[in-house]
Symmetry: C2
Subunit: 332 residues, 2 copies
Amino acid sequence: MPEFRKDPVVERWVIIAAERAKRPQGKPERVHMADTGICPFCPGNESMTPPAVLVLAEDNALPGEANWSVRVVPNKYPALVDQENLAPRTDGLFNSMHGAGAHEVVIESAQHEIGMAALSERNIELVLHAYRGRLRQWRGDQRWGYALIYKNQGAEAGATLAHSHSQIAALPMVPKEPLEEIEAAKKYFASAGRCVYCVIAQRESEIDRRVVLENERFMVFCPFASRVAGETWILPKRHSSCFESGSKEDFLALARSLRETLVRLSRCFNEPSLNYFLHNNPLSEPENDYCHWHLEILPKLHHVAGFEWGSGCYMNPLAPEDAARQLREASL
Amino acid sequence: MPEFRKDPVVERWVIIAAERAKRPQGKPERVHMADTGICPFCPGNESMTPPAVLVLAEDNALPGEANWSVRVVPNKYPALVDQENLAPRTDGLFNSMHGAGAHEVVIESAQHEIGMAALSERNIELVLHAYRGRLRQWRGDQRWGYALIYKNQGAEAGATLAHSHSQIAALPMVPKEPLEEIEAAKKYFASAGRCVYCVIAQRESEIDRRVVLENERFMVFCPFASRVAGETWILPKRHSSCFESGSKEDFLALARSLRETLVRLSRCFNEPSLNYFLHNNPLSEPENDYCHWHLEILPKLHHVAGFEWGSGCYMNPLAPEDAARQLREASL
C-alpha cells in the first residue's frame, strides 16, 4: 500500500510507493525492443494492461478491441490506489496517510510512436479529449483535490516505456506547486483586479521576444524565468480556469498549437526527452477569475543538479529569448 | 553577464547563465578521457583553472604547485559573477537583476578519483576544512545572503568533469529551499521551544528504523519523507546553526561519518551518481537556536519526472526504512 508522508519541517509531500520498484527498468527502447520484444501499449496487447476506463476512436467510429486511437487505463504500477480512507497517522512530528488516489495512463496512439510530435493533429486532439473526459470524471469525485496530467517522454525524462503516453494522477490534496501558483494568482487578482496570466499573455505578445507562436486562441512562449533550456508554455489567450471546459474549437486549436510546438522542439533540440504537465483549477474550486490553466513543457537538455536541489533556484544556460528565436526559426 | 530573474507569479528565482553553455559537454568520463585526455583538476594542470583562492596540504605541509591536497578555484564557467551592483530592473511584472555572486570549485583531491568515497578520511577532513574556510570568508562579506555548498558526482547528477569536486555558490538572497526550511524551523521553535532538527535527531535515534549510523557527534539517517531512493542526511546531534563554527574534533568526526556514509551508499547502490548539499545558517544571521545545519545526500537511482515537476510532490519507490536497513547491512 503506497503511503503519503509529509516532511516534518517544510510543506513537502512524498509518496512512498514500493510497488513502483517492480516496474520494468532500463531505457524505454530496451524495455520494448530487446528485453521483451512486446509493447504492452500496442494494439493486440490490450490484455497486458488493466481494462480501459476510456477508449476513443477516429472519426467517431465505435472503439473496439482492434479499433482505437487513444486508450486510458489504470497504471499497472500505481503510486496511488483507489480507496476512500486516508487513515491519517501522526506522532506529532511524523505525519502520514494512505496513498489514496488514482493513477492512470493515457496511451496516446495505436501506432508505436515514441515522440508525440509524430502524431497527427487529429490524434493529438483525441488525446486532449481523453484528458477532458478524465478531468470531468475526477471533478465529480469528492474524494480528490487535484488531478495532475503529465508526460514523461524519453529515458532522460523518466519514461520506462517508449510508446507515446501520458499519465493522470488524482490526489487527495492540492500539491505544493499548483497551490503556490494559485495562491500567488489569487493575491495578484486581489491587488490588481486582473488575472496575472492574462497580463503575462498580453505582455508577451507586446514584447514579442519570447513568443514561439501565437494564434487567435493560444499563446506559446518561453517564459521570462525559464527554469530549463527550451522551456515552453502554452496558455489560452482568453481567460479560462478549467481546461476541461474548453469548446470543440478550443481543443482543435490547442491540438494544432501543441503539435506545432512539439515539432518545433523536436527539430530545434534534436528530438529531446521532455516532460510536460497541465496546471489546472483544483477539482474542488468552481470556475474563477484568477486561476488560468496552462501547459508547461520542459525539454531535458541538461541536468538539474545539486545547486537546484539545494537552493530551489535554477541555473539555465539558454536565455528564453534565444530559445524562442531558435524555436521560431526551426523549419517545419 | 548572468542575470537573476524572478518568476512573475511564484517565489522562484532562476539564473540565466548563457556562459555556462560553453562548458565542455558530455559524460564526465568522455570529457576527461576520450575528448581531451587532460583533466584540468589533476596536479600539473593548475594553469587550466583560474588561480586558487584557497589551497590545503596534508600534514600541515606548505601547499605549493606540486604539493596540495585540496584546491578551491573560481568556476571557469561561472553562473554568478563577482560584482557589487545588483542593478535591479522591473516593469512591474518582470523582475531581474545582475547575476552577482561567487561561484567556486573545490577540487577535492590530488588523485584523479571519480567518487568521493575513494578519498581517505584525512583527505575528506581537508575538504571540510576548505568548506569552513570559504564559509568564513563569505560570512564576512556583506554583499551575500547565502552560501550554498553542493556536489554533483557522476553524469546523471549533472557533473561535467570526473575528478572529484564540489562547488560553492554565494548568492545575494537566501534562496527558496533553505528559506522555507528556516522559516518553518523558526515557527516550530516559537511554538515548541525546541529546535525541530534536534527533535528529529532524538526521535530517529529512539525509533531506530531509519538510522544508517550514529556516533557521539553525528546522526546519519534516511529521512522520514525521503524524496528519492537512498536519500541520506547527516545531522550534528548537538545543536549547531553554523557549519563553520565546528571544532577540530567535530570536523574529524564528520569526515569519518561522511566517508562511511559515502562508502555505504557506493557499496549498496553500485557507485551511484549523487548530489549533496549543505543547508547552513544564512550568512547574515547570527548563531541561533532554531537553524540546525545538515548535509542532504541524494543518490540518482531514478529520474525525477513530470509528476514531481508538476506537483512538487515526490514519488519514491524505496521506503527510507528499507534504504537504511540496506545501508546498515552493506559490507565495508
